[in-house]
Amino acid sequence: MIKVCTEDFDLGLLTNELRQKSPQSGAIVNFVGLVRDINHGQSVSKLFLEHYPAMTEKVLTDICSRAKARFSVDHIDVIHRVGELDLNSQIVYVGVSAMHRGDAFNCCEYVMDYLKSEAPFWKKESQHGQQVWLDANPTDVAAKARWEQ
């Protein structure tokens, strides 16, 4: 399941869905990305997320296909929110079910590392009343590079 939406999500319901479709799975690893109150030393009050609708799900689907080819996992679910998000809101969810926990951890981190550097989302923060587009994070490039060695 891959979804881009404005609505919030409930990790309890999502994990139950993932469990129900993965009876052979012994492990679930979930990632949730949040709107932090401090980013690069600036206090943040709100976040706006823009995306390229026609391209977003295509890229996320492609990342999940590559992850499934690489790791022994049963299911990968991804939700990414767009639009205005308050402080401490949930932004992104990646849930992975697998027979063994090592694959679930690696796959979930792989999907996040590629999502961060390939999926067409752009963040704009409200910092002290100013709207600031965020710059890409060089550590995300390094995180992705690890998988390409």
């Binding site: 990305g33 026609a54 391209m55 295509k58 932004i91 989302f121 752009w122 710059d135």
Partner: protein, 82 residues
């Protein structure tokens, strides 16, 4: 006719979200950047290789990727989702 789209900071800097453009024949991404640079100095700057990634028909493209009539070409800054 091709459709150009601009996202994020680029959309605001160029004050342009969507721009239909006539092309007389297939061009590559590098030539398209050049052609758009003629629209003015800030187009030249902001659409330079360092600032703008390109996707052709919703797939990341290279400088030599060919653009054909009817294609959707998107320019955007490095992504910052997640």
């Amino acid at each position: 006719m091709i459709t150009l789209l601009f996202f994020g900071r680029l959309r605001e800097l160029l004050d342009c979200q969507r721009l239909p453009l006539e092309i007389t024949s297939a061009v590559d991404v590098a030539s398209l950047r050049q052609q758009l640079a003629d629209k003015g100095p800030h187009w030249q700057e902001f659409l330079s290789l360092q600032h703008a990634l390109v996707a052709v028909n919703q797939t990341m493209a290279q400088e030599q990727t060919m653009i054909n009539d009817g294609d959707e070409v998107a320019f955007f800054p490095p992504v910052t989702g997640g």
